[in-house]
Every structure is written in C-alpha cells, then in structure tokens.
C-alpha cells in the first residue's frame, strides 16, 4: 500500500515553517502587493496572479488555473527580522505591515516577503532553501553582539 512507504518529508530547518498548502492561482485580482485573508491568505504576485497560502488546513482555492506548489517553496519564518532584511534587501521593513507583501531580491535570489503575526515569512524556491539557510546562518552571527575589534 502506498500509505506504507510514501511519507511526506517536511523541511527540517529551525526557521522553516511548513504551510499546509501553497497554490499558484491565475484569475481573480486584488490591489498590487496586498495580502487578502489570513488563512488562507492570498498574496498578490502580478495582475491576475496570486499565491494562496493555507496554514491550519490545506486550502483548495478556486480559480481559472490553480497549481499546487506546496512542496515547491521553502517558507522561512523570521522573527526580529528588520536587521536581516536590511542586510539582505533594499526593502524598508517598516513598509511590510500586515496586509502587504513584497517580491524582492534577498541575498541575490528572488523571494516573497510578508508579515504574519510576529514573523516575517520569506517564500523562496525550495531548491534555493539551502542557500537562504546558509546565508541566514552567516548573517545571524553579525547580530550576536559586538566583540572588540
């Protein structure tokens, strides 16, 4: 039986959260750079294009064209992230208020950022998750307190 051997492996990194579902949706619209809803939350990607993220349970978004990309992203939950964002992007973290999302370049790779609760969620293509993790680990040591030069 497939259930015996087929297991879903979540990404086991301390900063990575595993949303219940993530879907790319074409169709429908919302104001640019907005987040509509909380669970699921629909994040604006482009005119007529959004990313629907389900947390408590998997969302099954309606729409003309829906692709399940749950396993295609690594989602990092960053707390006290203003310094990290200042080190990795040109984005003003103060602009990331609840209800807004931003696609930007983070340490050289394309990411999607938005605020949810206490954390800033960083969505990146999963194959680049290892790179982001390495970068976060390195950058984090800059915030660990200052030693005499």
């Amino acid at each position: 039986m497939a259930e015996d051997w087929l297991r879903h492996a979540a990404i086991s990194h301390k900063a990575v959260m595993n949303p219940a579902s993530i879907h790319l949706v074409s169709g429908g619209d919302q104001a640019a750079n907005t987040v509509v809803g909380n669970d699921p939350a629909r994040l604006w990607l482009a005119p007529g294009r959004g990313l629907v993220v389900g947390f408590g349970q998997a969302a099954a978004p309606g729409g003309d064209f829906v692709s399940d990309v749950t396993d295609g992203q690594a989602v990092f939950a960053l707390t006290d992230a203003d310094d990290i964002i200042a080190m990795a992007t040109t984005l003003d973290p103060a602009l990331l208020v609840p209800g807004l999302c931003a696609q930007t370049i983070f340490a050289g790779v394309k990411v999607l950022l938005w605020r949810r609760g206490d954390a800033i969620l960083l969505h990146v293509d999963r194959p680049l998750g290892n790179y982001i993790a390495a970068w976060l680990a390195k950058a984090g040591t800059a915030l660990e307190g200052v030693a005499e030069k």
Binding site: L6, G48, S67, A107, P127, T141
Partner: protein, 959 residues
C-alpha cells in the same frame, strides 16, 4: 611632541605599537599619523617616482603621503592611510616602497636624475629594443604596499537604509540642517566620516545659542540617526548613496568596515572643504604640513608637530593655527603673501612674504622667506612650516550626483551651483560659523519640504575675512615646486604638459598623473588646473575640473562585495533528494546552477568506470535517474494551444491530450534556444519541460511575448519546477518496477505508448507518469510532489533491487543519449545552430502559421547548403575517444580550414568502441566520407555516419 594636557585622547589608555620595528607608544584616540608625529617621526613614506622622503602632511582623507603597511592581529592592510587608521594596542606599522627603509631609501638616488625624468618621460623612451626589456624593473619600483599571503577571512556586512533627508557631513552646517529637517517632520540620517559628530566644532571654542558648541552638538544629535566614522563615497542614480562605515568594533568573525546603501528622497551636501597647499620651491620636505591639519593635531591629539613654526598663508584661516600654536608654547612666525597683514600679539607677521625655499636633512630645518619675485630672501630656522593656499570645497559627491560647479574668483574656489540641490556650509565657500548654521538650517527645511517653527541656531558673527590672494606657484626658474606630492608632479610638469599640447584638464591628469595617486588629488587638483589655466591663457572656469567619480576615498573591495563570497558567492540549487545522492557517494557537480550527480562512484572506483557501469546497467537492466531539475511550466487557458503554437518551432496545437512531443524553442534569430518535451494534459492545459538551466529564460520568453505582443490571448504560465520531483526509471525492466509502485495506472502498450503520459494516485498523493526516454531504452518518468521525493526514491531503489537497479548520473546519461544521437542543448548546439542544422526541417516546411524565429530561417545564410550539420563520427581508431572540441579540417596545400567540430564523444559501452557527434560542414552530404580531425596540432581520422549508433529503428523504445 605630545603636549602635557588637552586633546580629545584618552590618556588613561596608553597603547603600544611598532614603527619599522621600533617600539613606540600612543593613546586611545590617536591615529597612526598623530602617534608618529607625537613620537617625532619625520619620514613616513617615499614618493612614487623619485622616491623623495615624505612626511605626514594632512590629518584626514586629504593626506597625500602617509601610506603605510599595518598589521593588527590577523588583519593586514598593505596600503593604509596613517591619518585614517585609529591606533590600536599591538599594531605593527611599517613603511612601504622604500629599501632598506623609508628613512633611507636607495631608490632616492633616482631624484638626482630628475632632470631627465619629467612628466611623461616614459612615453619618449624605453622603445628599444622593446618596452618589455625595461618593464620588470619599472614594475618592481612601482606600487606601494605588498599583497600578503594571508587571506582576509572576516565577513563584511552590508545594510540598506532609507530616509527622507540624508545629510552628508556633521559639521555645524550639516547638524543645523539635520536639526531643522527633523523638526520639520522628515526622517533624517546624518553621515560623517569622523569618530564623533561636530566637524570643525570639535576643536573650536565657539558658542552656539549662547552655549559651548559641543553642548549644542550633543543636544542636536541626541535622538538623531547619526552614522559616525562613515564616509559617503558614492552617489548613484535615484538618490542612492554608498557609505562605508568603519566601525570601531564588530562581532567576532566580522570586519569593522560595513557598507551602507542609503536611499534618500533628498540630500543635503554639507561636505565641508579641503585645504590646499601653497606651491613654492621645495615645498615637499617632511615638516611641511597643512595649517588646518596642524590645528587638528593640536586640538584633537595634543600633538605639536614642531617647536619653531612658520605659518605661510595667502588667506585668513591659517591665523587660527598660528594663534593656537603660540598658545601651546611654540615659537611662531607668520608669512602672509598679502600686502597687508594684521598685528598678532606674540607672533611676528611678515606681509608680502612667501616661502622661497626650504632646507634640512631628514626633515625641515629652515625656510627662506621673501617677496614673490624672490628679489630678497631671509633664512629663518624652523622645524615646522604650516601652509595654507586656500580652501577647495569638497564638491565631489555633489558633482557625482550631477551638480554643476562655478569658479568663484573672489573665493578662489570651485563652488556648487545649486539648481534644486541642497548645499550648506564651507562647501559653498562660506566660512564663518553664523553663516554656516544659517545655511544649514535653510537647507534642512528645504530638504524636508515642510515648514517648522524651529529657530535657526545662532552664533556670534565673526570679523569679516580679508580676501584671499590667489597664488598658483612662484615664477622662479630653476626651482622645483610640487603640486602632487605622491606622484611627484611639479608646476613645471604642468607647464610642460600644456606646452606639448596636453591642454585639457583630463589630458593634464593622464599625461602627468596629477591627481591619480591614492589621495585622488584632494590637495593637488585645484592647484594643478589653476597652473594649467595660467599656462594656456585660459580662465580657470573654462579649464574646469576632471570628472568626479566614486569612490570619494579608497574603499576596501571586500566591503563592497559584502557577503557575496565563498559558498555564498552564487546560489547553487539543490535537488529534493540531494542528501540521498550524497549518501550514495555521488560526485556532485554544478550543472547550470544545480548541484547534480555526475555519477555515483563506488569505493576506489574512477569516474570513467562508474560511468561505464551505470550506463551499461541502464541499457541492459534498469537504471534510476533524478530529473527533478528539469523545468516544469504549466500553461493553461483557452488560447494555450494557439499561443504555444506561436512560440514553438513544432506544431503543438494538434497534439492529443495525453501525448508528448519533442519540440524546439527558437530565438528570433532562428537559433535553437531550448529543446524539451511538450505534454498536453488537456485541451487547454499543457506541461512544458525546458532544460534545467533555461527554465527561467523560457518562462521569461513566454511572459514577454504574451504581455507585449499577444496580451489579449487568454493563457497563463505557472512555473512548478520545484513543486515536483521527477525520477526516470530506464531500461528493459523499467515497466515492472513502475507497475510495482501501485496506483493502478494502466501501463500497457496501448494505454501508455512511447511519448504519452498518464496520471494516477499513490494513496492520496498525485503521481504523473510519462513514457519518454532520453536513453533510448523503455523509460518512465515518475513525478510526485517533491515532499514525497525521498520516499519515492527509496521505494524505487527497493523495488528494483532484485532487477539490479542502479542510480545513474548525468555523465552516464550523456553516454546513453550519445549512443542514440540525442542532442544536448549547449553542447551539441550553440548560439548559431538552426533547426535545419540538426536535420529538423519538417516544421519549417509544414507549419503554416508564423512562429518565433521563422523569418530568420529564410535568410540566405540560413538556407545555404554548406552549413554545419549534426552527424555521427566513428574515429578510425575505435580505442581512442576524441576530445570534444576536436575540429574536422580540410587540409589543402600548406593550410587548413576548419569544417566544424566534435561536440560529443565517448566510449560506447554497447558498441565497445568510441563514438562521436559533431557539427560538420555539409555533413549530411558526406555520409561515409573519412575526414581529418585536428586537436592541439595532432591529426587523426574519422568516418561520417548517421547520428544514431544504437537501435536506429527505436525498437527498444517501443518493444
């Protein structure tokens, strides 16, 4: 010498350091330069060309001479500016470019030949027999410090920030501007390159709003974002500024210097001014210093650089230095170039007097003073000559940001022409404190764009300054008057350049190298161009300045690169089962930005042996390949078929749902950009599989054409590459293994022929199965959401164990596909390959509609018969595998001409001999011909054959 009291140093914290091996001491708050001066060190460096002795001249970024080698712990700076480096306990400081030492440099003998080594002399000689006969010696003498063997391993941090108003400079004008802007509600960042804000207020006994200036500084900067030790070194487009913060302390493993990129809606340039030297004979002797720098050393570091001082000036500012020196106990005299000079108590003032020459071994001992025409001279003993030739506003950043300049005759300075920009303080040529504060206040409000009730800060007005007497060197033939100290450029060199026709200020710079040393001409540029103006009879305004470009001062490369170093230099994508490959002993390589297995080597197994084993196994039993990096783009919409038909070379609109077709994507030039399998899942739903390294490019191409040329077509594109893992099970035993997965998919020949796909569920997990082959064997690509990749990978290995399943890597796959003549984009094709070259002419003839690149397939060059075409090659010696890149040549007479090249070559396990693919001129017309091959001068032979070496009928695919 060090004064007993005063200065902004911490006398409780004494520091030890060495200078050229000699142990010396200083205090916290010293720079290396102030500590050397306190210890009476006169010669700190040598000039670049003549190796003349050089002493410390200035106190900050304008320093032209004191470049030294500094080691501190495991840090090493081979070209440190002594005036900018804070002294630390245990620092090892050494001179550079002087042997055996900078104090006694053998190359100083060159100076004796100076007559024959004017500016540009190297353009006039060193031609016989050739430049390269002289180059090694010249190179050895050039250069300052030495790059060490150690590698800087500390990490460099980068930060971005933004504000409404960026104020550059925390002197009185800058702080007044920041205060006003902040009061008006703007978010403000102040950047200043000194360790603490205040600028000239740090050494001044001024009062502002009735209180000591430093109190005002403290009150103003409280609650303000101030970046100290921060040099704004570059102005870029869209209000973007690069700032280097040289932090005093950093976390372990991190370097002090930190790069800020600040985006400002408005900027206030309060960047101050830089003092110029006077130009007179022998003005480069150690012991001659900028008057303002002498004041700085006195006030900041409690250092008296001399006891018998002459202050030579053509303007009022140097008087403050003279008075301060007198009060510190030095014997001071003033030589004022102007006809009228005031009386100063305790100081002899000589009007209409300039230095006419200097002397002294190992440092200054006397100065000749007299009128400009040299008609009289009086020799005055002195160990310090403090000079001021005027002030040059620091307009670098203003100019980088596009601001224009104007030469102000009265001020004898280039000043900014503010046309909407905000400037304040001595950068505008203003001098007295009250004016600077008022300008700053006004600029701050203008930059904030809002009003405020805050009153401007007030300081008592100072006495009117007497005008400067512009003086650009003395007309005394036969003397050496220095303009650029580091690069040894004299006034005579400037005049020589002008007389030889190098009359533009940029030609002057390049011909004489004036301003091209590490100080970037901060103390020499204006003097030089003023002399040029005089030499060419032009107005200084018309001569102009050289173009200002970043960086304002030299910036460590590592700080600009930031964290983009080592493993973080460029991202490397991991496959979903990356760890499984590594655990299996895979040799991982970077293929198009993805870490992928080249092969899986057993213990002691070579790559070649592993490749042969894997390929043989996949051909005759069953192999397992990770194809997860292959692109997966879903295309959906009522117009999906029509749109893709416009994009692709091949016909895709007539593809039946459930079927796959191998297709090419062309550029507008007709060149094959990518190949891949197009699958039709449903009438309006396709799945494209671009090659791993082209997925982003293909997606961009689709979006570009859709958005710009066919925006009314209803179609969308979703890149789901990372969401699915795909494993290819390939070989005669592949079907039984895939069937054993379960899911109940009908894998019979009728239901799933070659180039078809189906979908099923493995439990609750969706699974796509495509029957497509890149090996030439029966092959199934099984895809599941990548979260299940590890389970599926392990399951397939388990299910296939009895059948002898082995994973195979890219190099092994490459052998299998080579045997079948299947191409690899970027290996068998390049930026010139058209479909016809690959033998794929069908669609061009059959496809009736237009498609991307079609027009380019009809040009004369695209249709000529002698194009290079893809063919197979069998080397004459079956045991020898030619190197890919070997050319086919036509040898006629003495010469040879390339007919093309080998693109793929390997030893075929199934044929047990070497096979190759290549692009050969008129290849298809040459079947059976034997041609010459050329590799690095060696020749061999090969026969042209069809591209498919194994199972040309494709029976293994369909059986």
């Amino acid at each position: 010498m060090r004064l007993a009291s005063g200065g902004r140093i911490d006398r409780a914290k004494k520091l030890s350091f060495t200078w050229n091996g000699t142990a010396l001491t200083g205090f916290t708050g010293d720079t290396i330069a102030s500590a050397l001066l306190a210890n009476g060190v006169k010669i700190v460096a040598r000039s670049f060309k003549y190796h003349r002795p050089r002493g410390v001249f200035a106190a900050w970024v304008d320093e032209p001479n004191a470049v030294v080698d500094v080691r501190y712990g495991d840090q090493h700076d081979p070209n440190a500016r002594a005036t900018l480096v804070s002294l630390r306990d245990g620092m090892v400081v050494a001179g550079v470019n002087g042997y055996p030492s900078v104090a006694h440099d053998a190359a100083g003998a060159l100076d004796l030949l100076h007559r024959f080594l004017p500016a540009g002399f190297y353009y006039k000689t060193f031609m016989t027999p050739s430049w390269q006969s002289y180059e090694p010696q010249i190179r050895a003498m050039a250069g300052l410090g030495q790059v060490g063997d150690a590698i800087e391993t500390r990490a460099f941090e980068t930060r971005t920030a933004r504000c409404d108003v960026l104020v550059i400079g925390a002197g009185p004008a800058g702080l007044a501007a920041a205060r006003a802007a902040q009061a008006a509600g703007a978010s403000v960042i102040v950047a200043d390159d000194r360790p603490e804000p205040g600028g000239s207020l740090l050494w001044d006994t001024a009062t502002i709003d009735g209180a000591p200036a430093l109190d005002w500084v403290g009150a103003t900067t409280a609650g303000m974002r101030v970046l100290s030790r921060s040099t704004v070194f570059g102005a870029y487009d869209h209000g973007s500024f690069a700032v280097l913060e040289d932090r005093a302390a950093a976390p372990a493993g991190w370097a002090g210097p930190r790069l800020w990129v600040i985006r400002a809606a408005q900027v206030v340039f309060a960047t101050g001014a830089i003092e110029r030297p006077l130009v007179f004979p022998d003005n480069d002797r150690p012991g001659i210093m900028s008057a303002n720098a002498v004041l700085a050393y006195l006030r900041q570091h409690a250092v008296l650089p001399g006891r018998r001082v002459i202050v030579a000036t053509n303007n009022d500012s140097a008087y403050a230095t003279a008075i301060a020196l007198r009060d510190a106990g030095a014997a001071v005299e003033i030589a004022d170039a102007r006809a009228e000079a005031p009386n100063i108590e305790g100081i002899r003032v000589r009007p209409a007097s300039v230095p006419l020459g200097t002397g002294g071994r190992g440092g200054l001992a006397w100065v000749d003073l007299g009128p400009c025409d040299g008609s009289r001279r009086e020799r005055v003993p002195a160990d310090l000559l403090a000079v001021s030739g005027g002030w040059s506003p620091a307009v670098h950043l203003f100019s980088q940001a596009g601001g224009a300049l104007r030469w102000d005759e009265a001020l004898a300075a280039f000043v900014p022409v503010a046309a909407g920009q905000h400037v304040a303080g001595s950068v505008t040529g203003a001098w007295d404190l009250a004016t600077c504060l008022a300008q700053g206040h006004r600029a701050g409000l203008d930059a904030a764009g809002r009003a405020s009730d805050l009153a401007a800060p007030h300081a008592p007005a100072s006495a009117l300054a007497r005008p400067i007497l512009p003086l650009w060197g003395l007309d005394l033939p036969g003397t050496r008057q220095w303009v650029d100290y580091q690069n040894d450029v004299t006034a005579k060199d400037v005049r020589l350049a002008a007389s030889e026709g190098y009359r533009s200020v940029e030609h002057l710079k390049r011909y004489t190298t004036l301003g091209m040393a590490t100080d970037q001409g901060k103390t020499s540029n204006v003097n030089g161009l003023a002399i040029l103006a005089d030499a060419t009879g032009q107005a200084i305004q018309d001569v102009g300045t050289t173009k200002f470009r970043p960086p304002f001062t030299p910036v460590p490369l590592a700080a600009i690169a930031g964290l983009r170093a080592g493993a973080l230099f460029a991202p490397l994508r991991h496959l979903p089962v990356h760890d499984d490959h590594v655990a299996l002993g895979a040799e991982m390589r970077d293929y198009g930005g993805w870490a992928r297995p080249a092969c899986y080597r057993g213990i002691g197994e070579t790559t070649a042996a592993a490749v042969k084993r894997e390929a043989t196994n996949a051909r005759f039993r069953v192999g397992l390949f990770d194809g997860s990096s292959l692109g997966k783009i879903e295309v959906q919409g009522p117009d999906a078929a029509a749109f893709l038909n416009l994009m692709y070379y091949n016909e895709v609109a007539n593809l039946r749902p459930g079927r796959l077709r191998y297709c090419l994507l062309l550029r507008e030039t007709g060149v094959v950009y990518d190949d891949g399998v197009v699958a039709r899942l449903a009438p309006d739903h396709y799945l494209l599989s671009p090659s791993s390294s082209h997925t982003a490019g293909v997606l961009a191409m689709l979006e570009l054409w859709h958005q710009t040329e066919y925006p009314t077509m209803q179609v969308s594109f979703h890149d789901v590459t990372a969401a699915w893992a795909t494993f290819a099970v390939s070989g005669p035993k592949s079907r039984e293994i895939v069937m054993a997965l379960g899911g109940g998919a009908d894998l019979s020949e009728q239901a799933l022929p070659h180039m078809a796909m189906t979908k099923t569920m493995l439990g609750a997990v969706p699974c796509r199965i495509a029957r497509v082959s890149f090996t030439g064997e029966r092959s199934y690509e099984v895809s599941v959401p990548s979260g299940y990749a590890h389970s599926l990978w392990r399951r397939l290995l388990d299910l296939g164990e009895k059948a002898g399943i082995m994973p195979y890597g890219i190099e092994s796959l490459s052998v299998l596909r080579a045997e079948k003549g299947y191409i690899l984009i970027g290996t068998d094709t390049d930026g010139m390959t058209l479909p016809v070259d690959l033998g794929l002419e069908g669609p061009l003839r059959a496809k009736k509609i237009d498609f991307v690149g079609k027009r380019s397939l009809l040009t004369p060059d695209a249709t000529r018969p002698d194009r290079r075409q893809l063919v197979g090659l069998l080397p004459a010696d079956p045991a020898v595998v030619p190197v890919p890149g070997t050319h086919a040549v036509l040898r006629d007479g003495g010469g040879q001409r390339s007919l093309g090249w080998i693109t793929t070559a390997c030893r075929s396990p199934v044929l047990q001999r070497s096979v190759a693919l290549g692009m050969i001129e008129s290849g298809r017309a040459r079947m059976g011909e034997t041609i010459d091959l050329f590799h690095l001068g060696q020749f061999s032979r090969a026969t042209i054959v069809a591209t498919c070496f194994y199972d040309p009928a494709g029976e293994k695919l369909h059986g």
